[in-house]
């Protein structure tokens, strides 16, 4: 019985990593979509569907574990944190897809804005990678690093916002493009938040303490 439970926990672990990897792929795809002109929407949609499917799979696995095995202590934490993590991962997948869907409208923006967006995407992508990596390695330090680096993405978003406000007020620019730009920036900022959440759940799983940090997600 115990053995079966352990195998199932291991399966849960594996599936979580797989889902995390999928999210990484999606966000990397969004970065690629920013840089070159190819159309990634279809690929991204397929991947996003897979993320959704995995979410429900993992959810039912977690439920089965909770109901049938009634885990306690660390095992319980691993299941409950998994349940929370998958919803964050699912959001990351969604938002990456959202970015890819509107990215073609911002291709013509000025170099400076593009540079900021790229920087944001890199930072957010690194956060996602690191949070998944922290989970894989069960690395407390890395998880804390991720939580700390959220400020960087937030700061970048603020800079971006100010810049866009200035640009719009100064010149008669293409309003739609700038709104899309700010949307993309916001998406990345949100992805950063979700990555932070994942890192917090990793910490919770490892230490048993819920880090009360990120207020808004």
């Amino acid at each position: 019985m115990r053995n079966r439970f352990d195998t199932q926990l291991e399966l849960l672990n594996k599936e979580l990593i797989e889902m995390g990897a999928l999210c990484e792929e999606l966000i990397r795809l969004s970065q690629k979509a920013l840089l070159d002109d190819k159309d990634y929407i279809e690929t991204a949609r397929a991947k996003e569907m897979e993320v959704d499917r995995m979410e429900s799979d993992i959810e039912s696995l977690c439920m089965k574990l909770l109901l049938k095995q009634q885990p306690v202590a660390r095992d319980l934490r691993s299941v409950s944190s998994a349940l929370k993590m998958i919803s964050d991962m699912e959001r990351i997948g969604d938002q990456s897809l959202d970015i890819i869907e509107i990215v073609e409208y911002v291709k013509k923006c000025d170099r400076e804005s593009k540079k900021y967006i790229e920087e944001m995407s890199n930072a957010a992508s690194k956060m996602v990678s690191d949070s998944v990596e922290a989970f894989v390695r069960k690395d407390e330090e890395l998880a804390k690093e991720v939580i700390a680096s959220d400020d960087k993405v937030d700061a970048l978003f603020d800079v971006m916002k100010k810049r866009l406000i200035e640009t719009i007020s100064k010149e008669q620019a293409d309003g739609e493009m700038y709104i899309d730009l700010i949307m993309i920036a916001k998406y990345y900022e949100r992805i950063g938040d979700h990555a932070t959440n994942i890192a917090e759940w990793v910490l919770y799983y490892l230490t048993g303490n819920k880090v009360s940090g990120n207020k808004d997600s």
Binding site: K14, A21, D139
Partner: protein, 598 residues
């Protein structure tokens, strides 16, 4: 073992004790039995004599417990019962019981046998006295029978009497045998414990154990050798995998990592602090292409994948591990290398090799660029030659224009020849370059002057002057190569110069890291090279001006040749340029020719 020996010894003592006890009791019983019988007989005879001489009244003295036998009473606590029975069975006298109440005794066994044989013994239960009794009857001369009997519970009494000392003895033996068997057991076991199972002399205390010992030693030595073998093999494997530059992963059927090397950790960016053995491969790296390759390998398909990790490109080769039965081996082995797939149920795991192909990929890309450049460069002059030739062939050209067209053809052909020469020169350098070149002493000043003379024509065309300054540096090197360097540098200096510009060639000696170098500095006042392009101008066919314009001419190989020659001589190049103002390229060549090639 000690316990067992102890237990056995102990039981043996106990059983011996019990048997001895039973035998002794048996012997004693027999002895007392006889004793009682003799006693009864003696007494009966004695009483018979008494009756004969004294008559019936003699018996009365025994009645009512008055009978005291001097001889017996002292040794026996109870007195014997005496009965006198008439020949017809009527009881005439009984010492213990009232005669009146007693029945006829004729049917009693002892009396029967006394009447018949003169005497008789019986041991039976007396109904009269309600106890086990031994009887002795004797026939008197008058035909009556005198019977003497005694209670027969004596055996139990003996045992009971012996009980106390026996119990004491048992206790004593228990204690004694406890200590003795313990020490005996220890003494038996001690040599066994002290046995040397590996080496040492064979004159063991226990002969019986020698064959066993021999076998154990043999096996121990065998195991030792096998362990050593295994260790060496493991060390070999370790050394092999650890020093491989390729990443190496061994996975089991469930895609768990069984073994991996340092390179795999480094290439895939896994953590050095974690032992991944026994974990799923997804923890090692969660890149999709690796996972897919592993999945396919586990399904029995040999696969290759490309994995992009940041700006590095890796090739992943995943092969299924098939463990074949020895019997099957012969038949399968013939097809094994060919088959790209193996049945899934035979797969025991997978081997993954990760190759860093970034450099290869980059070189491949350069080669592709080079090929396309070469074909382009070759095609352009050929197209114009064939075009012009076609016009002339068709007779469209007037007679007087023919020399002009011929000049065109000539120039393009010359360009082609230049190009081909340069390519040949470069490819010679690309090959094993040290062969066929003899270093000699070169006077750089003379060489520069000669180059200046050779470049007089282009100089005049562009109104550019060449100034040679500096000392006459003597260096060791391959003259034809170094001349190419100076020529190409000066040629570029003229070509990319402005009208009326200058090219300054400065020669001097410098010492860097204790190695004396000849420095050839060529500075022009030309158009300069932008920062981004400075790195790339040494690439083959790379031109800052992408139009491959014919106006400037040249093959696009000049600086590439310079770079190769400098590398050949183990020198280095410095480039310094401000767009619009001019370019200074300094070439450092070691004064002493280094033998080994680059």
């Amino acid at each position: 073992m000690i316990k067992r020996i102890f237990k056995n010894t102990f039981w043996v003592s106990m059983v011996t004790l019990l048997i001895a006890y039973v035998i002794i009791v048996g012997i004693l019983y027999d002895y007392f039995d006889r004793q009682i019988k003799t006693e009864l007989k003696t007494e009966a005879e004695y009483i018979a004599c008494g009756i004969e001489s004294v008559g019936e009244d003699y018996l009365d003295s025994f009645d009512q417990n008055q009978y005291v036998n001097d001889k017996v009473s002292t040794s026996q606590a109870h007195k014997n019962r005496i009965t006198w029975v008439d020949s017809d069975g009527t009881v005439l006298f009984d010492s213990d019981v009232d005669t009146e109440k007693m029945e006829n005794h004729k049917d009693r066994e002892e009396i029967q046998s006394a009447l018949k044989d003169g005497e008789g013994y019986t041991v039976r239960f007396s109904h009269t006295l309600d106890e086990q009794t031994i009887y002795y009857a004797v026939e008197l001369p008058d035909g009556s029978v005198l019977r003497v009997s005694s209670a027969y519970n004596t055996v139990v009494a003996i045992i009971m009497a012996m009980m106390q000392p026996t119990l004491f003895l048992v206790l004593l033996i228990i204690v004694l045998s406890y200590f003795m068997s313990k020490s005996v057991a220890k003494r038996i076991v001690a040599p066994i414990n002290n046995m040397d199972l590996m080496y040492g002399e064979m004159d063991e205390e226990y002969e019986e154990l020698v064959p066993l010992l021999k076998r154990i030693r043999k096996q121990n030595i065998l195991i030792d050798e096998q362990m050593d073998d295994l260790k060496t093999q493991q060390a070999k494997f370790q050394a092999l995998t650890e020093h491989m530059r390729e990443g190496f992963l061994v996975l089991d059927k469930k895609e768990n990592v069984m073994s991996y090397n340092k390179a795999a950790v480094e290439l895939l960016g896994a953590s050095k602090d974690i032992d991944y053995t026994g974990h799923n491969v997804i923890q090692f790296d969660r890149e999709r292409s690796l996972r897919e390759a592993v999945d396919e390998a586990i399904d029995g398909v040999r696969t290759q994948r490309t994995l992009e990790n940041g700006d590095r490109i890796y090739r992943i080769v995943a092969n299924p591990i098939v463990i074949q039965d020895v019997v099957k081996d012969e038949t399968v082995e013939e097809q094994a290398p060919k088959a790209d797939t193996v049945p899934k149920d035979q797969v025991e795991g997978a081997v993954v090799i990760i190759l860093d192909e970034t450099e290869k990929e980059k070189r491949e890309q350069l080669r592709r660029e080079f090929t396309s450049n070469v074909s382009h460069e070759l095609k352009t002059p050929l197209t114009s030659i064939s075009g012009v030739a076609e016009i002339i062939m068709n007779g469209i050209v007037k007679q007087e224009d023919i020399p002009g067209f011929a000049k065109n053809i000539y120039e393009e052909a010359a360009r082609l020849i230049d190009l081909v020469n340069d390519i040949i020169f470069l490819s010679k350098l690309d090959e094993d370059s040290s062969i066929g070149y003899q270093p000699e002493m070169i006077s750089l000043l003379d060489m520069a002057k000669e180059v200046k003379t050779r470049l007089k024509m282009p100089c005049q065309e562009k109104d550019v002057s060449i100034h040679i300054v500096g000392e006459d540096v003597q260096m060791e090197g391959v003259a034809s190569m170094v001349e190419e360097v100076v020529y190409n540098l000066c040629d570029n200096g003229i070509k990319y110069n402005k009208e009326g510009g200058k090219v300054a060639v400065t020669l001097r000696k410098v010492t860097e890291n204790d190695i004396p170098y000849a420095a050839i500095e060529v500075a022009d006042t030309g158009i300069g090279i932008a920062q981004d392009d400075q790195e790339r101008v040494f690439e083959r066919f790379y031109r800052v001006d992408k139009s491959h314009s014919k106006a400037i001419g040249g093959t696009g190989l000049g600086l590439s040749i310079v770079k190769h020659v400098v590398l050949f001589h183990h020198g280095h190049i410095k480039i310094d340029s401000v767009p619009g103002e001019g370019t200074t390229i300094t070439v450092f060549l070691p004064i002493h020719y280094a033998v080994e090639s680059c």
